[in-house]
Symmetry: C2
DNA sequence: TCAGTAATACTACCATGGTAGTTTTAAGGT
DNA sequence: ACCTTAAAACTACCATGGTAGTATTACTGA
């Protein structure tokens, strides 16, 4: 919000996603959730959550001896911000160009292309 | 290459873009190119270029008393890397989802949608 | 030849993300 | 009442991006 969301680090974003999925998570829960992908120390997660709280990204309430955290920024908002930032970075603002980059730069399956086409048709319908 | 390209900072990416556009640019030229958008000190650009050279992102050759820089990483490669990283961040790897995010998160003009549709058709044709 | 100038080199500083160890606190069971 | 344990708090450290001032060097024109 006040702090630009696109600047989120990888871990921060991952933590937010975890909290979007399960609001009111304890540090232990977030830590457990991230465990398979990142083998972080418990305190790493705790510290990051505290830092994120300072930045206004999350908030906590007490529950017994634990803190339960929740995200203060909406997934939508962050997605938009992060996406917008990429579009700016990649192609100084041209969405078409950005998507073109994405399409040409990796293998895209037939199936994905179909889905994408549907997405666009839908967007068209909505916009009309 | 060896260092993951997606980690490029905004300024670094901007400098690379400038060099892709005009290879063998002096510091002064890069500085001038960026001037309108970012009013940076000359030495800021020079320092960043030196740092980027250390990281293997650019290289220079001497021309009189100036250094002429060129990018060592290809635009394609960086675009792919940056794009891929975003897709991972935004939707743990689903391109469709990522594009969907981009589409729903901002105003997309009719015209852009048309272009996008064309892009996809083209990709389909290519992949077949 | 010498002063000015334009270039690089060097140094420094700050913020932030990421990571984690150590210390304190408090709850809970025996 | 005390020991264990789990939680938060505090502190610390490093890398990197970004930014720029100061020092040095070397060319160039008067």
């Amino acid at each position: 919000m006040n702090s630009p969301a696109y600047r989120l680090g990888d871990l921060q974003l991952r933590i937010l996603q975890s909290l979007w999925d399960r609001p009111d998570s304890s540090v232990a829960e977030v830590h457990a959730e991230l465990k398979p992908e990142r083998d972080l120390a418990y305190t790493t997660v705790a510290t990051m959550l505290r830092k994120m709280e300072t930045r206004g990204l999350v908030a906590h309430r007490e529950e017994g001896r634990s803190f339960l955290y929740r995200a203060l920024v909406a997934a939508e908002e962050v997605s938009r911000s992060v996406g917008q930032h990429l579009v700016d970075r990649l192609s100084s603002g041209s969405l078409t160009e950005a998507v073109s980059h994405l399409l040409t730069s990796r293998e895209v399956s037939r199936d994905e292309l179909d889905q994408l086409e549907k997405l666009i048709k839908e967007a068209k319908r909505r916009s009309k």
